[in-house]
Symmetry: C2
Subunit: 204 residues, 2 copies
């Protein structure tokens, strides 16, 4: 039977560029400048692709942007899955989750901002593809945090009267708000103190 059903090997010159790497570099520039402010030449520069290759590989600017956004979101979800891993102590996980945001909102990292928030504000209202992705991301995030809080509650680690769903929304809003105000004032130590103070109100 050998290779009768296998896809024939491609002939000729092989792809010489790594599409995933190009998406990552495109993500970087969208992240730094936003969608509208990123022009084709910027994308060609960072991906080191010619116009023709870029359009052949990704279709158009908007599709490439969606790929970049998906990549950014996937990275964020992966991080959350590690920080809030159900096999860990839930409160430790929540501390790690908050610590990650403190780190990402401090100094230079903070000034860079967040591609999801920038995209939310710039495009979500008028771009259904974007809106879907962002809404689902925030939902996933809130669910993961609520889950960790539920586990903490079951272990008797939550303060009296704390509702996991409410607290999850509060924590998510807090970290997203952090990323906003840290664009202009990325003050790490103060942020850490605020994050600690907030979590301390919820745990016992």
């Amino acid at each position: 039977m050998s290779n009768r059903t296998s896809v024939p090997l491609p002939r000729g010159r092989p792809r010489s560029f790594d599409a995933e790497a190009a998406v990552e570099r495109a993500m970087d520039v969208f992240w730094s400048r936003g969608y509208h402010a990123t022009a084709l030449p910027d994308l060609l520069r960072v991906t080191k692709l010619s116009r023709g290759s870029l359009y052949a590989a990704f279709g158009d600017k908007h599709s490439l942007f969606l790929r970049a956004l998906d990549r950014y979101i996937a990275d964020a979800v992966t991080r959350m899955d590690i920080e809030l891993d159900p096999r860990k102590e839930p409160v430790d996980g929540l501390r790690a989750y908050l610590a990650g945001y403190v780190d990402r909102t401090s100094g230079t990292h903070g000034r860079r901002g967040c591609l999801v928030i920038a995209t939310t504000m710039e495009l979500a209202g008028r771009d259904a593809d974007v809106n879907r992705r962002i809404a689902s991301f925030f939902k996933v995030m809130e669910a993961r945090v609520a889950d960790a809080l539920s586990r903490a509650k079951a272990a008797g680690k939550l303060a009296d009267g704390v509702d996991p769903a409410n607290a999850a929304r509060i924590l998510v809003c807090f970290v997203e708000g952090l990323r906003v105000i840290s664009k202009t004032a990325p003050t790490g130590a103060i942020t850490q103190a605020a994050a600690d103070a907030l979590l301390d109100r919820f745990i016992r």
Copy 2:
């Protein structure tokens, strides 16, 4: 001495448009679409000005945008000064402040988003004029909230161990985060419950 020092009366055709009203309409469109996505024709349409008049009155797109942003920020500060008026009960003030955000993040209002946050994400990193205004706005807001919390503490209304400065940062981050996630999911009731739950953790 009559009118010796007075400015001579203007001759000829008087200004027939209200600059402040034009700024407000420009603010509306920047608010809905963002800076880059707002094109000159959009501004001409909503202000009902000709190109010449607009440039004569405001200089250029960027200057008009700064006027619009200043207007938006001034409105927000005015609102805060009413909600957090020192002559009111501080906790009532904080409730009013949060209620205002719940309202602005619900339904259609929520989908509209916030010009300050959109501008922060789109321009603050690369535009010093914008950065100054935004940084100062967030500082003012945090200070007003911290002030109300200090007054509440002095009146014995705060829970044990709550630091007004920390709590202020938490509340500001929470409301700004609310505005972000409400762009795609403006769920008013849930938001109100979260706001209540958060404030309840700080007051006695």
